[in-house]
């Protein structure tokens, strides 16, 4: 087993944005290994340090933090012989790697509690709350202002959910945009590298202005080729870093199916309130229908766990019963079951069919076409919710982005999570984040104030495939509007 990382005295750097109750936030077990920032002299070969970086411990690094444990006893001493492309890219932009962050083992979890290093928590008002998962350590590091930027991985919401719980910005790019080479996979067809920061602007600067979105990585077979990148970028705004028109004329869709029973009242109110404020700033807000939403969560868990059970088959060096935590074991069993010859047709293949329908739902509501689809979807009005008004004879309004909460609740207390909140409840946290993952779409969670609450909620914007640049531009505007509301 790993030694628990020593808790280091928190050294707050110059806080640029003093958040409410900032002083009460304390790190709790969010780092797996650390290399304290040496702000003064970087080695001559390295570019000038321009920002500090924490990396989720399922993304390989070689120096100065040589281990990549994935929070699994299996990889307790694993020193990767190579470094993930995304880390190298950020270092070339001047990132100084200062910590590897705690997570749910192999990224499997929603609260960063299923870790060989022990659970991650955020401290709010002196009590420990869930940091969200699985990139909880990264979110806490950013929220505590210990780093400027953190890398996470987002398979079904693992960057957006902790960002929402911890009150920071979490961005999941279009699938295939940022290289996964060096990311220890959970579910390859859903995994993306995500970025967490305190402002959308920092993420936008790296992804759009410094051109991370353009870079193809031949070592990642799911990294989009250069020609495809160019084709996808046609008709996309803001790719070259040009500032958009803010919220003016932007159409935001509120998916009616997201108004679910499990959605906490305070969060729902904040969502409605936020939509209203955005409308005041020139956005047009309309209801839209995503009829497959209610099946998306089950489809997600079938596909993700099937792929996970396959990916983890390699860790057979010692008895797997000893080497994996409970949650990982549960997921391997579920995944193995859905792939078994008897269950395959009923689960895995059906889930893939649902996945196509989820993507089709999105393609129908977005004004932009999905560049990866050959044919435009035909609209069948009968499948749509009755609540959706028609814009014209041709159907309801098409939108630029979807606007919805990132999670149905605020960050729960850690003890409630640990003391056996049902497994299904934990899976339920992902209900608003998995649809974008299934469809490979870009999404960003920005902090959303909640009336009478110290805790932040997350407001999620989802865009059409490869519309990342404009998504980040609009999210920045949205974020500014929301910040002004508190």
């Amino acid at each position: 087993m790993l030694a628990r990382p020593r808790l280091r005295a928190l050294c707050l750097r110059n806080a640029r944005h003093t958040l409410p109750a900032q002083s009460q936030r304390r790190q709790i077990n969010h780092f797996v290994s650390q290399n304290p920032p040496t702000a003064d002299q970087p080695p001559p070969s390295q570019p000038q340090t321009t920002f500090t970086l924490a990396v989720k411990d399922n993304i390989t690094t070689v120096s100065p933090l040589p281990t990549t444990t994935c929070a699994s006893p299996f990889l307790a001493s694993h020193a990767s012989p190579f470094q993930a492309t995304i880390v190298t890219q950020l270092q070339s932009f001047g990132a100084q790697l200062v910590a590897k962050t705690n997570l749910d083992e192999f990224g499997m979890g929603s609260h960063s509690t299923h870790s060989a290093h022990g659970p991650v928590a955020q401290s709010l008002g002196g009590s420990p709350y869930s940091a969200g998962g699985s990139s909880g350590g990264s979110a806490v590091a950013v929220a505590n202002e210990e780093v400027d930027l953190a890398l996470g991985t987002d398979t079904g919401g693992s960057v957006r959910l902790p960002a929402a719980y911890c009150g920071v910005v979490g961005y999941k790019p279009s699938y295939g945009m940022l290289s996964r080479h060096g990311v220890v996979p959970y579910a390859n067809s859903l995994d993306t590298v995500g970025l967490l920061a305190r402002t959308v602007g920092r993420i936008r600067e790296l992804v759009v202005e410094r051109g991370l979105w353009k870079v193809w990585d031949g070592r990642d077979p799911t990294s989009l080729g250069e020609a495809t990148r160019r084709r996808c970028a046609e008709g996309r705004e803001g790719c070259n870093g040009e500032k958009g028109r803010g919220l003016e004329g932007v159409r935001l869709g509120l998916p009616v199916e997201y108004n679910i029973e499990e959605l906490e009242g305070r969060v729902k109110d904040a969502w409605v309130e936020a939509a209203g404020r955005l409308e005041e700033r020139g956005a047009k807000v309309v209801p839209v229908s995503l009829p497959t939403t209610r099946h998306a969560l089950s489809a997600y868990y079938v596909i993700a766990l099937a792929e996970a059970s396959s990916n983890l088959a390699k860790y057979d060096g010692v008895s797997r019963g000893q080497g994996f935590g409970e949650e990982v074991k549960r997921r391997i069993l579920l995944g193995s079951y859905t792939l078994s010859s008897e269950a395959m047709d009923n689960y895995f293949l059906k889930a893939q069919a649902v996945r196509r329908l989820v993507r089709r739902d999105f393609d129908r509501v977005f004004r932009l076409e999905n560049p990866l689809q050959d044919e435009q979807e035909v609209f069948d009005l009968s499948e749509m919710s009755d609540d959706i008004p028609m814009e014209s004879k041709l159907g309801p309004a098409e939108v630029d982005f979807l606007l919805c909460p990132t999670a149905p609740t605020l960050a729960p207390k850690l003890e409630d999570v640990m003391s056996g909140q049902g497994v299904l409840d934990a899976y339920m946290n992902d209900v608003f984040t998995v649809p974008a993952s299934l469809a490979g779409l870009p999404a960003v969670s920005v902090p959303m104030p909640v009336e009478g609450e110290e805790r932040m909620a997350g407001l999620q914007l989802i865009g059409q495939y490869w519309d990342d640049a404009k998504l980040l531009g609009v999210a920045e505007a949205v974020s500014e509007v929301l910040r002004g509301t508190k």
Partner: protein
Amino acid sequence: MARIPTAELSRYLFAGQIGHRGCLRASRIRIAPTSSSLQTRQFASHVESQAPTATTVPPTPLRKQLKEQAKALKASGQKKKKKVDNQTVPGWELTVGIEIHAQLNTARKLFSPAANSFNDDPNSHVALFDVAMPGSQPVFQPETLIPAVRAALALNCEIQRVSRFDRKHYFHWDQPSGYQITQYYEPFAKDGKLELLARDGIAAEDGESITVGIKQVQMEQDTAKTTAQPGEVQWLDFNRVGVPLIEIITLPEIHHPATAAAFVRKVQVMLNAVDACVSGMEAGGLRADVNVSVRRTDDKCGTLGTRTEIKNLSSFKAVEDAIIAERDRQIAVLESGGVVEGETRGWAIGSTETRRLRGKEGEVDYRYMPDPDLGPVVIDLPLVQYLASSSGLAPDAETDQLIEDYGLTAKDAISLMALDDGARVQYFYNVLDALEQKLGSASVDTIAVDRGLSTLAANWCLHELGKLTELSNNLGMTHKGECKVPSADLAALLYHLHRKEITAKVAKELLWAIFRGEISQGGVTEAIEANDLWFHELSEKEYSDLADQVVEGEDKVLGEFLRFAEGKGKAYPQGKLMFLVGKVMRAGPEQRMDPASVERVVRARIDEVYIPGLKSKE
């Protein structure tokens, strides 16, 4: 991994309970020796036998196995039925389907740029992905498609524009990722066929020719090479992990054991001819699994009997023998009122029966899943057309040419084509070219072949060269058709032999000397000269005198010739003639005599001298 009953899994999934004897405990890997010392190649399918029922046999040397087989046969008092007479069992129909794995001839592995090596230092060509390093990903190497598509075209398959890769899961130490990447749902080639001719060695019952349908050809990864060491230790060479293979799957359309063996042999020839394959069955580059079932010939229900699978057959003989044994076993079971179980069986070289490896309950659920890292493979028509047009003469056409234009027997032609993975026939061309050049008979019109020369060269390239390797010597044949006996030296040897400047006996001794390296390259003529091995043939007079001497007192034999001359005997007594020739050969200085000359002289003396002599005696 022991299989968890679905019922138990369901219980777990719906109630969160799992028995203590759950899969996590059972998944402990059992390290057991495998029977891989003879053929160190272990294909993925082989390792399926690691369920608890698996029989793992300690490695036994081939020679020992063969000896034991002979002993067992003798002890049983059985006379082995000749295979030719054992192609059918009255009242029963046999049905066989075959799966062949062949290693592709490529520079790199299937999903990593590591070199595809054959005999390099162990673990010297291993990429991170090959050993499943966390965070590494497969990168498909498109050039592996070239031999794969060539092979599929040689088997008359339809190349699929879009194909995909799937993961096949099972645990074994030779598969670091816990799964093999293969093409299960959408293979790259389908619906092929291969025509087998009588000369290919099919069963007589199949007549002049038979066509075997090929269901699909798929690309997949090879596993690491396991080498058993003393004391339960296995050495692993990851150079082979991820090396590209193709798996060829036939329809169940073969009904005779010899035809099945002929099919595998012909596939090997076809793959060699298009340069798709690294090595043949002898070297372990090709392996076959066979599916066998039987049903009564009067069975009208139209469905095949329950089939069993025999895995990892490593020679053509094993294919035929295993099928015969399994067919007979199934018939015996059915005739005694039993039921054939669907199961996997094994075959040891030289045995007389197949043995059960595991039944249905021991089967591994491979949990096939499309590989989520790998996109579809798109093969455009122009590539297929280019490869089709650049594949050279098809082996059947080449065999025809050897028979019709070079005057070879069908048997020799097929042997030449098959030996040394297709390199032997190239060697033959090299020798023949050099020989013709020396004789100045190389004509501009290459179609006209001096059949005397071509059959002479073929005889030496096949049979005399074959004798060199009888004691397990290696010819060291390269794919360019050169070996330890340089083609130019064999041609020099045959040049002198053809011109009767040396005897066949001397030529054979010289061949051994060349093979052993006692004659330096290009030094054949010098060696003959230095050792005075030239053929100083007896004169006609000396031959006649010798013959006269030998025939003394053979009046009884000569009488046969007289009978023939008088029209009393039906056929010329060739046997008696050869008897006399033999006597003459033994009586004279062998190194100065040519059997052909002796035969000519003796025959002339019989007609001209001895018969008139006999007549005058009467």
